[in-house]
Amino acid sequence: MLNKISRYTIILLMVIVSALYLPDFFSMLFDKKENTPRLSYSSVIDEFVYTKYYGMGQIDYMDIKGNNYSEREYYKLLPFMHYANLEKWGELPLTLKGFEMTSKNIRQNSQMVRIQPKDIDPPTVPLNIMFEAEGDYASLQIPDDIFRISNTIEFLDPASNSVLEEKSHKFQEAMLAAGFTFPAKLAAANQTNRKPFDEGYFIKDATNKIFHLKMIKDEPVCVNTGIDTKLKVRQIFISENMRKEFYGWILTEDNDLYLITYDDYKLRQIPTGGNNAKYDYVANEMTIRFYIYPVDKHINISGDGFSQLIILNNDFKKIAEHVETWTPYDKRPAPIVKSFLFPFELSTYDPMQYVKLQMDIFWWHGLIGIAVSLLALLLFSRKRPWFDYVVVLFTGVFGLIGVLLIKPED
């Protein structure tokens, strides 16, 4: 009995390894790159345009009506993206929709933010730095302490690896005074000094209230933002920008996005989907980009097999939307063949930036591979322990390799 268990253990290990490597190897050999269009919106002709790459310098520039453009013509359609080139060529228009088109003016009135799955809950060390928001220098000064925030807020002195009691106490008091309830559930900031100014931290407390904590002239400033505690805040992304329209945005558990505006922390929801719910934003799988241009705002949601662009005017009213699609991964030839060959696939790839062993089952297609494997076992290798068939029934070709290579011992 133990010998049998032992043999099936080896087969199980073989199945694991083959399911990890074989499908991957198959894709490496046969999968072809999909030429995905890059969708944009031209505020010049008020039309969606896109480029399509065919490898090695072969690029088509088109609008969705089917008109072709040369590269320069195309750049001219997208002056807010290509203003530097246009300026160099002397082709930057003087105004567009009443907006004065100079490089500096465009730069100051544009902003781009992006959320990828890996940004949402990355495996980072939960330690933070607090910048001085109103320092004496032109650029942000790196502090010399680090803080942790959970049950309390504690500033640590790296040189001695000890708590800075006084400063910690000061901050804790300020937070408590503002009505903060420890422990903190979430602390979000833009932890870089490569930004024009610092807005500090947005912190969710134990009662789901969101607080805004900054350090001004070495003193803590903590404000209850008043953001609705019913909002299921998943993550907050802070993006300091001279436009000072919003501090950043909130991603909720329901994949909704809200800008936290400078207008007393009022939230403004931005659309995360268009007419077809199929292309609605799902944070764990898709990337969302928010482009703010002087004359309009573009929301781009891109996922497997599509790119959706939603255009808002400056009053956040939707004025246009369009989806470009291409063959999604599991409809491409190689992945389809793969799903027939193998009943499932193991991988450790995780778009959220973790290493996570997970199984992807190829249900109906996989059954065909399993049937073929079973048939092969029946036809070419008779007289087997019945459990070998069970193994192949559940693991298809992986199990077939296993039971054929590791012969039964009685």
């Binding site: 010399d144 790296p158 997970q358």
Partner: protein
């Protein structure tokens, strides 16, 4: 009888155990020196930032990755190669003890020594980095080492299994599987990246069972 087997495995392993322990002490001492050096030249704050943001510490404690692998491999080789050369395993298989008990206890005692080394390394590292870094960093670093220890455990059991297997073709097949199973534990590039670690632990936990199959095949006279 188990005592006798422990005695035999200890006779084979004792030098390796001492050498590995010494290497561990040296590596830990080196780590102290390295951390001090970085703190001195980068400044404590900047060093913490590198450690947090660029996984600096993780990249500089390669020995924690390598030592369990070396130990697992060395212990398995030292324990089982002498048993398999000139079919010496026949002596052990003829001992008045069931071969399952024999194999499990031999591998079990060997793994006990490996585990002792892992525990030593783990707590040593804990002590060393706690001197300079806060709990958050220490926790993340220690969590990151767990898959490496699983890798060391995997290499021990799989090597033992490969050596005990009498047929060369099977050995090659097992070597391929082993590579895959060990590599699985070294896929992280930053701190504490593994989710569902339990799956990896489970995979390593079933490995001792494989050894029995090799023993059975030896007894059966497979060439």
């Amino acid at each position: 009888m188990l005592k006798a087997i422990l005695y035999k495995e200890w006779i084979k392993l004792r030098w390796a155990v001492i050498v590995i322990a010494a290497l561990t002490v040296l590596s830990l001492a080196y780590t102290i020196g390295m951390i001090n050096y970085y703190v001195e030249f980068q400044g404590a704050f900047q060093n913490w930032m590198y450690v947090i943001g660029k996984s600096l510490l993780l990249k500089n404690i390669v020995f924690v990755k390598v030592l369990p692998l070396i130990t697992g491999l060395a212990f398995a080789l030292i324990q089982f190669v002498p048993e398999m050369t000139n079919k010496r395993m026949r002596l052990s298989y003829h001992l008045p003890i069931s071969e399952k008990k024999l194999l499990i206890s031999s591998a079990g005692f060997g793994y006990m020594f490996l585990l002792a080394e892992i525990v030593f390394l783990f707590f040593g590292l804990w002590m060393v980095i706690s001197m300079t870094y806060p709990t958050e960093i220490v926790t993340k670093v220690l969590m990151s080492t767990i898959p490496w220890f699983l890798g060391g455990s995997a290499i021990y059991f799989m090597t033992a299994f490969i050596i005990l297997e009498p047929s060369w073709i099977y050995r090659i097949i097992y070597a391929v599987i082993s590579y895959g199973l060990i590599e699985l534990n070294f896929r992280a590039s930053t701190y504490d990246q593994y989710q569902n670690l339990w799956a990896l632990i489970l995979i390593v936990a079933v490995m001792p069972l494989t050894v029995m199959f090799a023993g059975h095949r030896f007894r059966r006279g497979t060439k």
